[in-house]
Symmetry: C2
Subunit: 125 residues, 2 copies
Amino acid sequence: MQIGELSERAGVSHRTIHYYERLGLVKPAEREGTGYRYYDEVAVKRLEKIATLKRLGLSLDEIAAVIDLYFEDASGIRGKERVLEILQAQLVNANAQLDELTAFKRDLESNITRMHALIAEAKRT
Amino acid sequence: MQIGELSERAGVSHRTIHYYERLGLVKPAEREGTGYRYYDEVAVKRLEKIATLKRLGLSLDEIAAVIDLYFEDASGIRGKERVLEILQAQLVNANAQLDELTAFKRDLESNITRMHALIAEAKRT
DNA sequence: CCTAAATCTACACCCAACGTCAGGTTTAGG
DNA sequence: CCTAAACCTGACGTTGGGTGTAGATTTAGG
């Protein structure tokens, strides 16, 4: 598939794909002499994973550092141990974010209740 | 307290406080003729709340739209209804983020398990 | 009263993460 | 074979969230 289709399917602009390529986040499956980029299905998954990691608050540089481990196996025991470390660090992080988000949600809910009450009261008078 | 102390206690630079002031996120308790800004304890709390909301992924503009409701009551029924809308939108958002984060965490855990297995196997051989 | 430290305003600059534009090349379909 | 649509590169613009710096003013402590 060419960059246009990839762009459409992954929901990012082709300029963004170019940009990500420069940062080492994605690369075309092949680029025969002509210059056109051709991608495979994995590229779609990759861009989707990038989007997810971005939503979790990682910078593009941070994503570049870990994205590969979702799509190729680390070689050698050292590589695997390194990957394991990174994954565990991310897990700790995710748990912290979950806690914060949960507290925020509770906060929101109580404020919503309060607002409802205030509005009801204001209407009564 | 002056801006230096506020800066120190809230863990943000005084330049950032100036910047936030321009965006309407904080304002000094008083500014007598001289020009110096003087803050009270609430300002510390405010800056901490801003930091929290930022960590949750809100932009400074979005924060500006809701921060007041943590520290003063919206005036008038229209104001309260507006605040309610914003809160409810944020709740929807928070729920979506929670779902995504939970899925991400599951993913991480399964990858961690897999890595453990791969490492154990590699060591056996 | 004097001076060093803190603060003031205003403008310029920085980085990340793109988007826009221009001018040229490649491809696919009729 | 021709042309419109897709693609290429490179340079420049933009937005968000700040930081740096200069030159002037204010304050506090000895």
